[in-house]
Symmetry: C2
Subunit: 215 residues, 2 copies
DNA sequence: ACAATCATGTTTACGGTGTAAACACTGTCA
DNA sequence: TGACAGTGTTTACACCGTAAACATGATTGT
């Protein structure tokens, strides 16, 4: 019978859950140095396994990177999820505004706090379908994109946004916040101190909101 | 741009203007495959020179890439410049709106037409100072950032935007357009057909404008 | 219970890349 | 003319991604 030596870190030939371990290592590499720092050999090295072991679980480096990308998206989603559901406001209109603000604020904050991971989350590998795939959702099961969509629907439902302006509004919201994050982490606004970055973020959200709720 | 200096294909030991030739080759590589396609050895190969010749002109691959990045920015600037100065409107307010729209529209169009170059233009290497450096300006001597700034100043001058909202407005304008471009070329909106992308772009600009000119 | 098979990790090997060091050709200026 | 600085070449190395053959451990059919 399989005697349970119960020693967790098995020194055995087989690893147990190498795929997962490699993704974790990859996420760490991405956090430290962005997508180009996700080098296959280094990930295997950190896990303590030979380079080619990775090929039992990933077709190539690109596949590993894609898995790391999904993990990064999930981490971003979890952060946004938290902020979204923490909103407590008296009426529907205030709730809608707070929801949108929560998502935008946390989105940029995540990028500033984890620039490497954030960049890894947005490598060319995701279409609109993936933006709504559970792989990338937060604890609530909703992706950031779906949360923005929900917040904007609340804008219309609570009467602060004309329905005629609703179509595609999520693209303006997402674009402005995503663009700001990019400019802040490796664009021309990189040198901005954190406080200034936060202030600009609120201002950008203010203006986007004004764009939605204007008569 | 890509002005060919028409240097006679010298068969001599010395090349003549290797630095420039390498940047041109690098730009071509970037156009075809983005920043990661700017491979030093391939650039030298295309120019017909040994790999290490590049080190007489660039400290390392990173330096070559930075030069290519500047060239890409300049190309983007030239395109935007053209659209900006082509605007002809009767009054100041209409001119201001048209200027902003011209810059945004051309920015996104450039990204869609040259995704590889566009991504290369925004690798982590540029702070706010560089965004106003003549290295990256168009024929008029102004960078895209300075053109957005000018357009928004016209918004205030022509009375369609409250001065209280002016500070940092260029960051919303830039963010939303830059973010949209990113989402369109390798983000979740990648699969959108060109016509739809153009429509969304106009819509994003509409909403941003509404945000600026709201009471 | 035991051999066959499958899943997973290892070794060896190859071509491609960035880059350091030493060398070679060319034009310039004393 | 000859020293010298500038530019391109050769040789060499470490590292990367990855293919192929091999080894080991777990599973399963009989």
């Amino acid at each position: 019978m399989t005697v349970d030596t119960a020693a967790p870190p098995r020194e055995s030939y087989h690893h147990g859950d190498l795929r997962h371990a490699l993704v974790l290592a990859g996420v760490e590499l991405a956090r430290e140095g962005g997508p180009e720092a996700v080098v296959l050999r280094e990930a295997t090295r950190r896990v303590g396994v030979s380079p080619n072991a990775a090929y039992r679980h990933f077709a190539d480096r690109e596949a590993l990177l894609a898995a790391v990308c999904d993990a990064a998206q999930a981490e971003l989603a979890a952060a946004i999820d938290e902020s979204y559901w923490a909103v407590r406001e008296p009426d529907a209109a205030a709730t809608a505004r707070a929801h949108l603000r929560a998502v935008g604020t946390r989105y940029v904050a995540f990028a500033l706090d984890n620039p490497g991971l954030f960049r890894t989350a947005f490598i060319a590998s995701s279409d609109l379908e993936r933006a709504t795939s559970p792989e990338r959702a937060g604890p609530s099961g909703l992706t950031p994109f779906q949360l923005v969509t929900a917040a904007l629907d609340e804008f219309v439902a609570s009467g602060i946004m004309p329905a005629s302006r609703r179509p595609n509004a999520e693209f303006l919201a997402w674009s402005s916040v995503h663009g700001l994050a990019m400019l802040l982490i490796d664009g021309p606004l990189r040198a901005l101190p954190r406080a200034a970055a936060d202030a600009v973020t609120q201002q950008v959200i203010d203006m986007a909101e004004a764009g939605f709720t204007a008569p």
